[in-house]
């Protein structure tokens, strides 16, 4: 897997909870059924209030987002344990969320599913970046660059979580390390 992720950013504020990432009425969709997986992706972040987020994360009538990297404030992914949240983001094409902090279960679900990289950063990036900015996230170097200004911000290392996501989730990782049979 490439360690540099590029693309346009989608910027959200603090406390984006799992109801905003994937509203509860869509939870009857089962992520392991391929059609329903795609459908979940098309609803990613659709619970964000329209007045504060006029640009939608996934444009109406499409299944894939134009913004592979999400930049957030504190406590991203708080609320329920629904894995539908990182899965909806992954299904629509999100590769990483860079936030000041994550809620625990969301972080864990990103790692377990290998859907996306949950990257922490001490700085308040959601005040610096704007939706649509081109960004470059280098996981090895631990940096996030804003292409238009050339500004570079340090991100925190993923530590133990990195090899699990690189492997594609907890199953692939457990096989690779001999915890379960191949």
């Amino acid at each position: 897997m490439s360690t540099v992720l590029r693309g346009r950013a989608y910027v959200v504020r603090d406390n984006i909870d799992t109801d905003q990432i994937i509203p509860a009425q869509y939870l009857a969709l089962v992520p392991t059924i391929p059609d329903e997986y795609e459908k979940l992706g098309s609803y990613a972040l659709c619970g964000l209030p329209k007045d504060q987020y006029p640009t939608r994360y996934v444009a109406d009538g499409t299944a894939k987002t134009a913004f592979p990297i999400v930049i957030a404030g504190r406590n991203f992914g708080c609320g329920s344990s629904r894995e539908h949240a990182p899965i909806a983001l992954g299904a629509t094409g999100c590769t990483a969320v860079v936030a000041e902090g994550f809620a625990r279960i969301f972080f864990r679900n990103c790692v377990a599913t290998g859907e996306l990289y949950p990257v922490e950063c001490d700085q308040r990036l959601c005040d610096v970046f704007q939706t649509g900015d081109e960004v470059e996230l280098d996981l090895d170097a631990g940096t996030l660059q804003q292409v238009k200004t050339g500004k570079v911000f340090a991100t925190k290392p993923l530590g133990d979580a990195r090899p699990v996501i690189d492997a594609g989730g907890i199953f692939e990782y457990a096989r690779a390390t001999g915890m379960i049979k191949k």
């Binding site: 109801d19 009425q25 939870l27 089962v30 406590n75 344990s81 902090g101 377990a112 907890i170």
Partner: protein, 444 residues
């Protein structure tokens, strides 16, 4: 955790493989968990232990939504195929299909004898919570079982699929935050007020990745229902788990429930280390607490009920794992008895046992006479919104006071609705006046 990992000691930050004692899943996350299990271990794979898996449909049950009804059927097929012992089905026919009868409506009973209601409350009621064990569930409020002195936390479908196949999971040992409770709660104050106060104190991400330990004389004087209310909401401060040290109150409850239900009665309790080190350590004087409310839009926005008299409400709701236990309805009834609610008020008991308790004490009738719309179908209902026809769901922007545990935007339905979390006393008093009301006015 050290014992579950087969080690003599672990320290915060260690990643350890633990052996799981109970895995719980429900209708919303179960089908996905089963999907992960089959994808990874093969179509013919068998679960690691058919006596350690508990499946409790409870979320989207009493709805005409066809996918939701189908999801309960997926659970039933899996239980039959695997020969699982603990499945609290909506219907009694192991080969049947669940179809909600919309014509009967959401208030008339539509379930069979095996149904158990809301998963976390049912786990305790059916004898699946035991001190010293590791309980994982595909639901964030699984931390409620920490009330019984066990390590209990919520996990996602992929992790749960892994546990189904292996009985193990890699967990990071959390640091511990200690909340020492002293003194006695004053009249009109409930366990819900304690936890809302604590979350307001540390912020609703204040315990992220950490364990929240409640101890001291104030904690040991609480009954199991109250401890469950508090442990349930550890996640609302971001906590990994909430935990109470087990004592005679715990043992009595667990022994009674495990014997009555024929579940495993043996357990080996774990007590706190004497030289435990804490990431945070604070004492709370319960005598000083007053009826507390968490305002829209998150559980950390703390105010006192008496400061919010200017907030007019459209409806009131009592129910959920946190607020739908027998003791919650008894408290509610104490306030509304002989009076009439002024706004639409919905009551959803957590389990069938709660309904039986309320009927036996004639409290059901007291609530109905007061104008509360009581549903005979226990479950999550509007606690998390659910499909549009869910009982009590807010389908337009409204303000609701609720005895539930979470109030992020859109939680109970419409994205622009607002939810205020409070104790059953405060919800009841507010239902009578149509404004947020300090219940002490009604308890003189």
């Amino acid at each position: 955790m050290a014992r579950a990992a087969g080690k003599t000691a672990v320290k915060p930050g260690d990643n350890v493989w633990v052996n799981v004692d109970v895995l719980m899943t429900h209708d919303v996350c179960g089908p996905g968990t089963i999907g992960v299990f089959k994808r990874e271990f093969g179509q013919d794979a068998k679960v690691w232990d058919k006596n350690k898996i508990v499946i409790i449909p409870d979320h989207y049950i009493f709805t005409a939504d066809s996918k939701s009804n189908r999801n309960v059927d997926i659970l039933r097929d899996f239980v039959r195929e695997q020969g699982l012992k603990y499945f609290y089905d909506v219907i009694d026919d192991p080969n049947g299909h669940w179809v909600f009868d919309a014509a009967k409506g959401p208030m008339k009973r539509q379930y069979g004898d095996s149904f158990a209601g809301v998963c976390h409350t049912a786990l305790a009621a059916k004898g699946h919570t035991r001190p010293g064990e590791i309980l994982l569930g595909t639901d964030s409020h699984t931390c409620m079982a920490g009330a019984f002195g066990e390590f209990a936390t919520g996990i996602g479908n992929t992790d749960a699929g892994f546990v189904l196949g292996t009985g193990k999971l890699l967990l990071k040992v959390p640091e511990t935050m200690r909340f020492r409770l002293e003194g006695k709660m004053q009249k009109g104050v409930m366990a819900k007020d304690i936890i809302l106060h604590v979350i307001g104190d540390i912020g609703f991400d204040g315990a992220t990745y950490r364990a929240m330990q409640f101890d001291g004389p104030g904690a040991s004087s609480l009954n199991m229902d109250d401890r469950m209310t508090i442990a349930n909401m550890a996640i609302e401060a971001g906590g990994k788990n909430g935990i109470f040290e087990p004592d005679q109150t715990t043992f009595d409850y667990v022994n009674e429930r495990t014997k009555f239900n024929g579940t495993k009665t043996a357990y080996d309790p774990i007590f706190c280390d004497k030289d435990q080190r804490f990431f945070y350590d604070k004492t709370f004087d319960l005598t000083k607490l007053e009826p507390t409310v968490a305002c829209h839009p998150n559980p950390g926005v703390r105010k006192l009920a008496k400061e919010l008299g200017n907030i007019a409400l459209d409806r009131a709701y009592i129910g959920s794992c946190t607020g739908g236990k027998s003791s919650d309805f008894f408290a509610f009834a104490q306030i509304v008895k002989g009076k009439k609610v002024k706004i639409d008020t919905f009551g959803v008991p957590a389990t069938p046992e709660v309904i039986a308790d309320l009927r036996a004490a004639n409290v059901w009738q007291v609530l109905v006479d007061a104008g509360v719309q009581m549903s005979e179908n226990p479950g999550c209902a509007a606690c998390l919104g659910g499909p549009a026809d869910t009982f009590g769901r807010m389908n337009k922007p409204m303000k609701c006071i609720s005895a539930t545990n979470r109030n992020f935007p859109g939680r109970m339905g419409h994205l622009e609705s607002q939810v205020f979390l409070a104790s059953p006393y405060t919800v009841a008093a507010s239902a009578l006046t149509g404004k947020i009301t300090d219940p002490r006015e009604y308890l003189s």
